[in-house]
């Protein structure tokens, strides 16, 4: 049976390009047929690379045939992650001239502590204010800050966290922004297990987006993730929370959990309309 290879890579297709070649003992990322990668998928690729490398598994990246996508990956600073984790690259990742796109891109970045997380949340604010609805900028600031804080405080991720964001269709009615924060830590299930007992990955995600659920027994805790979900959903956006072998997708009208390939850690992403209600 032929393997499905997506041409557009976003939250729901991430698994289709990731595999483990057990004969060679190599983790493979196959982007050959891909003609689009969003910020969530890019963050997911970084987490996959860091996770494999952390487990001593070499990573091989097959670059896209599409030159525009190769340039985009380069512009989003994927090379920093490839170099840091010694990824073997099949194909050439071009060097691109970095014209100013600070109002539309947050390149893939790694952070290790709350100062790094604070800085990235401020980046989001500074880069988007004025060009995007104020409520959306505020929500993105809060989301980035809270998700970054979760990585630093709860994830136990040996390489810290990754973040990337991009604004799409600037100026068009369907203009939107995607932001994602990921880590290769213990995952939500393990994080909550000590306080709430054993549960599945899907159950742990459902529980983590309820108010006042936290690994830390403190009455003011457990506001970060539910606040992100409520805020993004309230503005007509979508949130993806992927941890372990489950991914929960939440929109204003519905929420559903799907089984996914097990990835170490957690990736949370949000897609928001830049001008909700218009």
């Amino acid at each position: 049976m032929p393997t499905f290879r997506p041409t557009t890579l976003h939250a729901t297709h991430l698994d289709d390009v990731l595999s483990l070649d057990v004969h060679r003992g190599v983790a493979v990322i196959d982007l050959v047929q891909v003609s689009f990668v969003d910020a969530y998928a890019l963050t997911g690729l970084a987490c996959f690379i860091a996770s494999a490398a952390g487990n001593g598994i070499p990573v091989q990246l097959l670059l896209p045939n599409d030159a525009d996508v190769r340039s985009w990956l380069s512009r989003m600073h994927l090379r920093d992650v490839l170099d840091a984790f010694d990824v073997r690259v099949e194909g050439v990742l071009p060097r691109v001239a970095e014209r100013d796109r600070t109002d539309t891109l947050i390149e893939l970045e790694r952070f290790n502590d709350s100062h790094g997380s604070d800085r990235l949340a401020s980046f989001i604010w500074e880069r988007l204010k004025g060009g995007v609805d104020g409520e959306v900028v505020n929500q993105l600031f809060e989301a980035t800050g809270e998700l970054g804080q979760n990585v630093v405080e709860h994830a136990g991720s040996p390489v810290g966290g990754f973040i990337a964001a991009q604004r799409y269709k600037a100026g068009a009615p369907e203009e939107r922004i995607v932001v994602a924060v990921g880590d290769v830590g213990v995952g939500i299930r393990e994080s909550l297990r000590v306080r709430y007992g054993d549960m599945t990955d899907a159950e742990s995600i459902r529980r983590a987006i309820q108010w006042h659920v936290s690994r830390v027994p403190d009455e003011g805790r457990g506001q970060g993730l539910p606040g992100v979900v409520d805020g993004v959903r309230g503005l007509g956006g979508t949130v993806w929370i992927r941890s372990g072998a489950a991914c929960r997708t939440v929109t204003r009208g519905q929420a559903r959990t799907s089984e996914v390939s097990r990835l170490q850690g957690t990736i949370v992403g949000a897609r928001l309309p830049c001008r909700p209600g218009r």
Binding site: S114, H115, S117, D118, A121, S122, W125, V137, N138, F141, E142, T144, G145, E146, G148, Q149, V152, E153, H212, D218, E219, G220, R221, Q223, G224, G227
Partner: protein, 92 residues
């Protein structure tokens, strides 16, 4: 009265701890004012940690949040409510 100046953007709990680090441990007869006139955005975690540090851990008589954006005020009220100290929070 002790006055703290909130910066333009605040997000982590560490930032709240840094902002309040200079306060004495016992504030039971004291009022703390946080001047938020420069503040543009805050996260729920920052605001919760601020309320915790001033009203819960140090037991201040009052915490005044002055000149804050509407969203920060909403977060401060929610944090104080969650921690059972709403009667000692004042919005200026």
């Amino acid at each position: 009265m002790s006055t703290l100046i909130a910066p333009k953007l605040v997000s982590s709990r560490d930032q709240a701890r840094e902002l309040t680090a200079g306060l004495t441990d016992d504030l039971s007869d004291a009022v703390v004012m946080v001047d938020c006139s420069a503040l543009q955005a805050s996260t729920p975690s920052f605001v919760d940690e601020l309320v915790k540090a001033v009203l819960v851990e140090r037991g201040a008589e009052r915490l005044i949040i002055k000149g804050a954006p509407e969203r920060t005020v909403e977060l401060a009220r929610r944090a104080a409510q969650n921690r059972g100290v709403a009667a000692r929070l004042e919005i200026g």
